[in-house]
């Protein structure tokens, strides 16, 4: 675990900074969390390895991992 760093919800998208409601959208995106008890798709950084950001599906009640993929959609391997 310690080779990886957890960040948070993988659904995070940077809001459109030009949108009229950008401020509320950023407040929400940066601070509000789903925090589910169950399957959570979340971001992890493989800092002391390949430095990839990963999307990991994990059950927050059991820590069971149900799959992982690269967060960067363009990473093929």
């Amino acid at each position: 675990m310690h080779e990886f760093t957890y960040l948070g919800d993988a659904a995070y998208r940077r809001p459109d900074p030009q949108a009229p409601d950008a401020l509320e959208a950023f407040v929400e995106a940066v601070h509000t969390r789903v925090n589910p008890a169950g399957i959570h798709e979340e971001l992890w950084y493989h800092g002391s390895g390949c430095r990839s950001w990963l999307k990991v599906r994990r059950d927050t009640r059991t820590h069971e991992i149900h799959g992982a993929s690269f967060a960067n959609p363009e990473t093929t391997r």
């Binding site: 760093t5 809001p15 900074p17 950084y45 950001w53 690269f70 960067n72 990473t75």
Partner: protein, 991 residues
């Protein structure tokens, strides 16, 4: 040195090897293969400890890790180890043990008066008392309670031994090497799977060592030896003796503790005392056996009262008779095994008390054969004996009582599966009425249970279960299994009728021996509403001692069930947590202590700085030269003042290699920088550097640094030393997650370069001499903020004209292996100008004189505007943090903002961390207007100066305020001023 009065024939100890040891200063002997407990018993020592609360005399109760009573301080000096269980401490020559929790001696312990006061010292009494007067708690009551509590003493010296950690991987981890575990390891090992077999004991065999059983036509212990020999011959099997599996963790990982050297007086050279393993096992077979439980009756804690299986173990495995006139008190068939084994060993049996009507004819006959007195349907209600058992009182089924003289009472209350490891990942055990015990239910998918831990207590069950579990685990992983014949063995009697507590007892009947929790404490908890077993535990401390309730918890829960009239499945049991048995803290730290706590990063010029006598400071994991004292300088300030003056007046050099350097490449590198920095970068000219500030998305400043452009698609960003890692992670996040559409690549090149700052009016002269014609460094050819890459003395070299000090300054970088050569060359080239190495302290003085922000200001709580950098925030583009930096709380003009401060009386010292209050304002928080972020003594100005964040600071230059620093006795009038104390026009660095 006395003989061993209770050593009898037989057993597995090595009688030819005699080991000398001492207990409480008295000398004894034992044999190789003994535990401290078996050796003490062999020598007739019965009293070995005192209980936690009442200081009751206690002896040896078990023969394993469940031992609640026989705890000792093992070894002496810095190696003293409190609370060691004598039952698992392997005897070695020269072993030195002390009893604990007694004063002045084990025999005469003043604390035993607590026993007289026990009517008051019931569970939880302290919650209801000691409240008045309030001030007495810390001074009187608590120290008394603290002194009385606790068991052994810590040496208070650093642990001198060495510890290690290691990782291992296997297909099948077999936990426990009793019959079930051995059978499992054989089945899996023969298939070719990678097997690890771990047992906490120093000999493999489990109950086969303590019992007289037959397997495959031979003595059980011989069969175990044979099985171990076969396993040892398999290259794919690793045998780990003295190794406890202490916990199950996520990702199929298990924590193991290997006691590498605990059976030796001191660890051999180059070997650790203990080694903690993290084992990743695709499958695990838990064959951890079962633990016999005592019965709660009056005086059941007297030395000489033992579990029946332990009595058997001492006789069969260790060749020791725990008593000369033994009585057996059982509620299970297993107690009868003890009867049989004692008889075979020729130990006199006074009586057998079976709480049941003995329906098993075979058992009755076996008793009759030996002429032993049998009391059916009876129970022990009291015991006698000052410091060791001398007699017991037995109530029979008809209400009669019998006084029986005996020096050892073997008690068998049935077994509890040793299932802790199955619950570490969250599983809950299930109550089984069949075996009157909690058994594993739904262990994690990768763990199979086998043998007694399942609640099937027969030997045949163990052998069969083990073989099946081992084979299934291997087969499940694709290994080919050759079916094996079931191993024949002698038959089992395993029936039990639970007897938790003998109600007729008047005396204290102990449930948790170590913590002195009695049946009446459980009843009191019930009365006061602490009925949930977890509340019962916390109120009475039942099961919270060093044995973690291995012999007590379930009994306590059963008594609660009876009191509340609830069935056991409803009452449940408390949660077991890792570690299964206690683990030395040093073992969990391993190599990483002292200087090796965290790695140390050293720059290429470190050895050179050491030779100059530098004083070093921590900067994250790096060590940086803080200043370079010269002979005659008596305090750091002298050195630092000299270094600053040298730079301001001539030239100095400073190792800046620790700053983060990130190569940013790719067609979109400029755009990328534009998005992460608040100011624009895309149009930075090649060959130029620019200062940049980046925010977090929440609008606060994250880091700053200069970024240089070396090519069309190549930038090099510098970060602060502390933030190099976090910035890298942030940038990778931006690149991979936020903007995968940008074609940009990042890599840390921090370590490639050894980089020195050279600053001072003579810097260019030194550089010219150093570089010769490798580069034209004239102001015209290489102006402020210029950067260049070139070859110098055959190595690639980078030069940056950037200045943190405010002087004419450069940073020069060469590949790190030449770092030491570079600094030597710089010193050589600067000799005529008295070039002076300076450290981080002088660096800091000069940047404060220039009003440059650094760690004290970049504390994660400041905005760009707070730092006077608000105008850098581009209005023409978006960037990380722009939107949220506009929140009212961040844009508030009242926020503390960067100013300079200087003491009104120039002789006075100010310090960072002082708060800024209005002049003459009362020292209360309402008057707090800011604080000093960084302070330095300016040798140029001749007084202390500081940077501060003060409400509306920039509008208040000239105002006199108060730098209030009560924790250091400081209270100084200061004047707010411009944060730029030195060369405000900036002519120097342009020069």
């Amino acid at each position: 040195m006395s003989g061993q009065p209770n050593r009898i024939a037989g057993g597995l100890v090595e009688r030819s090897r005699t080991l000398a040891f001492t207990f409480d200063g008295k000398a004894y002997i034992g044999h190789e293969g003994d535990t401290l407990a078996s050796a003490l018993l062999a020598n007739g020592v019965k009293l070995v400890g005192r209980s936690f609360k009442y200081h009751r005399p206690r002896g040896i109760m078990t023969a394993g890790p469940e031992e609640p009573n026989a705890l000792v301080e093992l070894r002496t000096g810095a190696r003293r180890e409190p609370n060691t269980k004598a039952t698992v401490a392997e005897l070695y020559d020269g072993l030195d043990a002390q009893s604990q929790n007694r004063w002045p001696s084990l025999d005469f312990d003043v604390g035993a008066v607590n026993s007289l006061l026990s009517p008051f010292f019931v569970a939880g009494f302290y919650y209801k008392t000691f409240m008045w007067p309030a001030s007495f708690w810390e001074k009187i009551y608590e120290p008394a309670i603290r002194r009385a509590a606790g068991l052994g003493r810590v040496s208070m010296e650093a642990d001198p031994d060495h510890y290690e950690k290691a990782y291992a991987y296997c297909d099948v981890l077999v936990i426990g090497a009793g019959p079930a575990g051995l059978a499992a390891a054989l089945a899996a090992g023969r298939s070719g799977a990678r097997v690890i077999l771990a047992d906490e004991d120093f000999s493999f065999g489990g109950r086969l060592l303590g019992d007289r059983r037959e397997v495959a036509g031979m003595a059980g212990s011989d069969w175990a030896g044979q099985a171990v020999a076969e396993l040892a011959s398999l290259p794919n099997v690793r045998l780990m003796r003295r190794t406890t599996v202490f916990g199950a963790y996520d990702g199929n990982e298990f924590g193991l503790l290997e006691r590498v050297s605990d059976h030796l007086p001191v660890p051999p050279r180059h070997l650790p005392r203990q080694r903690m393993w993290r084992v990743v096992a695709r499958r695990a077979v838990l064959a951890s056996g079962a633990i016999e439980r005592p019965i709660a009756f009056g005086g059941n804690d007297r030395p000489g009262v033992m579990t029946a299986s332990a009595v058997r173990t001492y006789v069969n495995r260790f060749g020791v008779a725990p008593g000369r006139r033994v009585t057996v008190f059982t509620s299970s068939d297993d107690g009868w095994r003890t009867v049989a084994d004692l008889r075979s060993a020729g130990v006199a049996i006074e009586a057998v008390i079976d709480s049941r009507r003995v329906t098993n004819e075979a058992l009755r006959e076996s008793a009759a054969k030996g002429g032993t007195r049998l009391i059916e349907g009876g129970s022990v209600i009291a015991t006698k004996g000052a410091k060791a058992l001398s007699s017991i009182t037995v109530a029979d089924a008809n209400g009669g009582t019998h006084e029986i003289t005996t020096d050892c009472l073997a008690v068998s209350g049935g077994f509890n599966p040793n299932l802790a490891v199955t619950t570490h990942l969250g599983g809950k055990p299930r109550w089984s009425d069949d075996v009157s015990a909690f058994v594993p239910s739904n262990p994690p998918a990768h763990i199979t249970v086998a043998g007694s831990v399942t609640g099937r207590y027969g030997l045949a069950d163990a052998l069969r279960d083990g073989a099946t579990a081992g084979a299934d685990a291997a087969a499940g992983l694709g290994f080919a299994i050759t079916p094996a014949e079931p191993l024949p063995c002698d038959d089992d009697h395993v029936a039990v009728s639970p007897l938790w507590h003998v109600a007729a007892s008047k005396e204290k009947a102990f449930v948790d021996f170590q913590h002195d929790v009695t049946v009446s404490d459980v009843a009191l908890a019930e009365r006061e509403g602490f009925r949930a077993v977890e509340l019962l535990k916390r109120y009475t401390t039942l099961g919270m001692a060093t044995d973690q309730g291995k012999t007590s918890a379930v009994t306590g829960h059963a008594i609660m069930a009876a009191l509340t009239g609830q069935p056991m499945e409803k009452v449940g049991t408390t949660v077991a947590r890792p570690p299964y048995t206690p683990v030395a803290i040093a073992a969990l730290a391993g190599h990483h202590r002292g200087k090796d706590f965290k790695p140390t990063r050293l720059t290429a010029g470190h050895a050179w700085a050491v030779r100059q006598g530098a004083v070093f400071t921590e900067a994250g994991q790096w060590l940086r030269a803080q200043w370079f004292p010269r002979p005659g300088e008596t305090d750091w300030l002298q050195s630092v003042n000299r270094e600053v003056k040298a730079v301001r007046e001539s030239v100095g050099i400073c190792d800046v290699s620790t700053l983060g350097k990130i190569d940013i490449q790719g067609p979109d590198a400029g755009e990328f920088l534009n998005r992460v920095y608040i100011n624009a970068f895309a149009k930075l000219a090649i060959g130029k550097a620019r200062y940049g500030v980046m925010l977090r998305e929440d609008g606060f400043v994250m880091d700053d640094g200069t970024t240089a452009r070396f090519g069309e698609t190549h930038y090099v960003m510098s970060t602060t030393t502390a933030n190099a890692g976090p910035v890298m992670m942030h940038l990778e996040f931006c690149r991979q997650v936020l903007w995968p559409e940008l074609d940009v690549q990042l890599v840390s090149v921090t370590e490639q370069w050894s980089q020195y700052a050279m600053a001072g009016p003579n810097a260019r002269r030194v550089l010219e001499r150093l570089l010769g014609d490798a580069l034209d460094v004239s102001n015209e050819a290489f102006p402020f903020m210029g950067v260049a890459e070139f070859a110098w003395r055959g190595v690639p070299t980078r030069l940056f004209r950037i200045s943190f000090s405010g002087e004419l300054a450069y940073e020069i970088a060469v590949p790190a292996r030449y770092g030491e050569a570079l600094v030597e060359a710089l010193m050589e080239a600067g000799r005529d100008w008295d070039i002076t190495p300076y450290g981080t302290e002088a660096l800091s003085v000069m940047r404060i004189e220039k009003g440059h922000v650094a760690g004290g200001e970049l504390n994660g709580q400041t905005t760009a505007a707070d730092l006077g950098l608000g105008r850098m925030m581009s209005t023409k583009k978006d960037f990380i943090g722009r939107v949220l930096a506009g929140r009212p709380g961040l844009a508030d003009p009242d926020r503390p903002t960067l100013v300079g401060v200087k003491p009104v009386d120039p002789s006075q010292r100010i310090r960072a961390g002082a708060h800024v209050l209005g002049k003459g304002a009362e020292a209360v928080i309402a008057n707090d207007e800011g604080y000093l972020t960084s302070v330095a003594h300016s040798p140029i100005l001749g007084h202390w100066i500081g940077l501060a964040l003060v409400k509306r600071g920039p509008e208040r230059h000239g105002e006199i305020m108060r730098a209030y620093d009560p924790v250091r006795g400081g209270d100084t009038e200061v004047e707010l001023c411009s944060p730029v104390f030195y060369d405000p026009e900036g002519t120097k660095h342009h020069g």
